[in-house]
């Protein structure tokens, strides 16, 4: 994990513990305790004993299942699209340099600095009804676009846009492990682009793709703002569904059950992700 740069650290086990006490207390109170409470509180009811009824309800309720299913396929599609869009840019940036490449990189990273509320608003102005895309189409004498606003395509487009930079950075860090010499050597031996990609590049960046995938799954299972603002009212992704169950239906038990279900679906990905960041952290760079 974090190795002390000097083994003879300034000692003081007690002062160390005191210094970390407050954030640790906050972590226990506002993360570990709620998670524990959520898991236990949805299966054990004081005075009534154990019951899985809220889970039974979720997994037999057609609407809940449709929402879960929507979340799963939006997650799969969005993750695939993010990698598909970011990969060509990452490959280009890895093997090209120059002022144009630098510009491409800045542009591709730009969405890092556009908060999601603003993304949602810009989306509506561009792809919404009578947005700029419609304006241009009409000016060209073409029919208007069937707008993706308030359809499942809406959040997917928004979510791909918003997270393009992070996917790109993850892929670039993986591509850093691919030596240009090995690619050149393969090319000299007559390997085509596809062979080089699948035989030389892909094996080296596998772990980055897995981390990107884990990161995507975690993010999409808790996506809220963009699906809420750009997606259909029904079915809805797990984020908006939890919010509506909690706030509009004032039903914390079922909202917490839904939360625990998202924890369960993300558990494996969460483990992969935390392992990767813990590895990346080891020792000062």
């Amino acid at each position: 994990m974090i190795t002390a740069s000097h083994p003879r650290a300034e000692g003081g086990g007690l002062s160390g513990l005191l210094l970390v006490a407050l954030p640790v207390a906050l972590l226990i109170w506002l993360v570990l305790w709620p998670v524990l409470q959520a898991v236990v509180g949805t299966v054990y009811f004081p005075g009534k004993g154990f019951s899985l009824s809220s889970y039974a309800f979720f997994f037999t309720d057609a609407y809940s299942l449709r929402n879960l299913w929507l979340t799963l396929w939006v997650t799969a599609l969005t993750s695939a699209l993010r990698v598909a869009v970011a990969m060509p840019i990452a490959l280009y940036l890895r093997f090209r340099s120059g002022s144009i490449a630098a510009l491409v990189q800045s542009l591709a990273l730009f969405p890092l600095f556009v908060p999601s509320v603003l993304v949602a608003y810009a989306f509506i102005r561009v792809l919404g009804p009578n947005g700029i895309v419609d304006t241009v189409l009409v000016a060209l004498g073409l029919p208007k676009l069937p707008t993706p606003y308030l359809t499942p395509a809406g959040p997917i487009i928004g979510l791909v846009w918003e997270r393009l930079p992070l996917t790109l950075l993850l892929l670039l860090s993986g591509l850093g492990r691919v030596s240009i010499a090995s690619v050149d050597a393969a090319r000299d031996l007559g390997a085509g682009g596809l062979t080089i990609f699948s035989r030389i590049i892909l094996p080296r960046i596998q772990s980055s793709i897995i981390v990107a995938l884990a990161f995507n799954v975690l993010g999409l299972f808790s996506a809220f703002t963009l699906p809420y603002l750009l997606g259909p009212a029904s079915p809805e992704m797990m984020g908006p569904y939890m919010q509506r169950t909690f706030s509009d239906n004032a039903d914390p038990l079922n909202a917490t059950t839904q939360a625990v279900i998202t924890f369960a679906f993300c558990a494996a990905f969460g483990l992969v992700y935390v392992r990767a960041i813990a590895r990346g952290r080891r020792g000062p760079a």
Binding site: A9, L22, R94, A101, A108, A122, I132, P252
Partner: protein, 282 residues
């Protein structure tokens, strides 16, 4: 990740190679997909009349700036947002920086385990965590209160406010500290005169990231804050949902982007792109 730096640095080395058509194609595509939506929305903020299907606004002007910025809900939300954000950032820095110092420099029992605990928060989908915490806040009557929002947003800042400063404190040159101590400086003096100044730029970066990301935070503010605590992003969302005049939202769009723009300028100076990627586990 050093390759990113190499890539951007390589721009200076003029290559007499063929024209980079691939790059130009990427550039054109990204300009349309990334920049155009933002530019179109920004133009809306300065359009007094823009009726479909005109390509450009019929009349430009600052009329809607006056209208939007004289709305009470906008100013109430702005002061509230700045209040919450400042409180969160200040508390976070006060409790996390000392902890980061301890994680980086002191040896205490359970150090690795506790640090791993902070990382493991990342293994949960965030919105589920917010819902779980909100359920507890219900019983504590913290839902819909200023402090409820502060607490939930504070938790969201813990990881980065510990993590980024840990590397800052680890990066401090130990030989300078030892030299100062050799000439008789007290440990406190060494910390204030040697350690802190070296770590300061990174600490400042952590504060900036925390401030800006808290300012824009919507998920927790929505679930815990509404309906009583309406932060700035919530006003933006109500403008989107209630479909008021397009320009209200557009003016707010430009206005709200300012903090992010400042962060972007700072990011170019203080942080390399690799810091982001390493933070993500790249």
């Amino acid at each position: 990740m050093t390759d990113l730096a190499v890539l951007s640095g390589a721009g200076k080395r003029v290559r007499r190679a063929a024209v980079d058509w691939t790059g130009i194609a990427f550039l054109a595509g990204l300009a349309v997909v990334i920049l155009l939506p933002l530019i179109v929305t920004a133009v809306w903020a300065f359009a007094e009349v823009w009726r479909f299907p005109a390509i450009v606004p019929q009349r430009m002007g600052l009329g809607y700036w006056q209208d939007t910025l004289s709305r009470n809900d906008v100013w109430t939300a702005l002061w509230l947002s700045l209040g919450i954000t400042t409180t969160v950032t200040a508390i976070s820095a006060a409790i996390c920086f000392p902890a980061a110092y301890a994680f980086a420099r002191l040896d205490f029992p359970g150090r690795n385990l506790l640090f791993l605990a902070f990382l493991s928060v990342q293994a949960f989908p965030k919105f589920g965590l917010i819902v779980a915490t909100a359920t507890i806040f219900l019983t504590l009557h913290l839902v819909g209160t200023f402090w409820g929002v502060v607490l939930i947003q504070l938790v969201g800042t813990l990881l980065y406010m510990i993590w980024i400063p840990v590397s800052a404190f680890q990066g401090v040159d130990r030989r300078l500290e030892e030299a100062a101590r050799d000439v008789g400086a007290t440990p406190m003096r060494v910390f204030w005169s040697i350690t802190l100044p070296q770590a300061l730029p990174t600490l400042f970066a952590a504060i900036l990231i925390t401030f800006v990301s808290t300012f824009y935070e919507t998920d927790a503010a929505w679930l815990i804050g509404l309906p009583n605590v309406r932060t700035m992003p919530m006003v933006m969302i109500s403008f989107i949902n209630n479909a008021l005049e397009v320009q209200y939202g557009a003016v707010l769009f430009v206005f709200l982007w300012v903090p992010s723009f400042l962060l972007m300028l700072a990011a170019r100076r203080v942080m390399g792109a690799d810091a982001f990627a390493r933070g993500l586990g790249g």
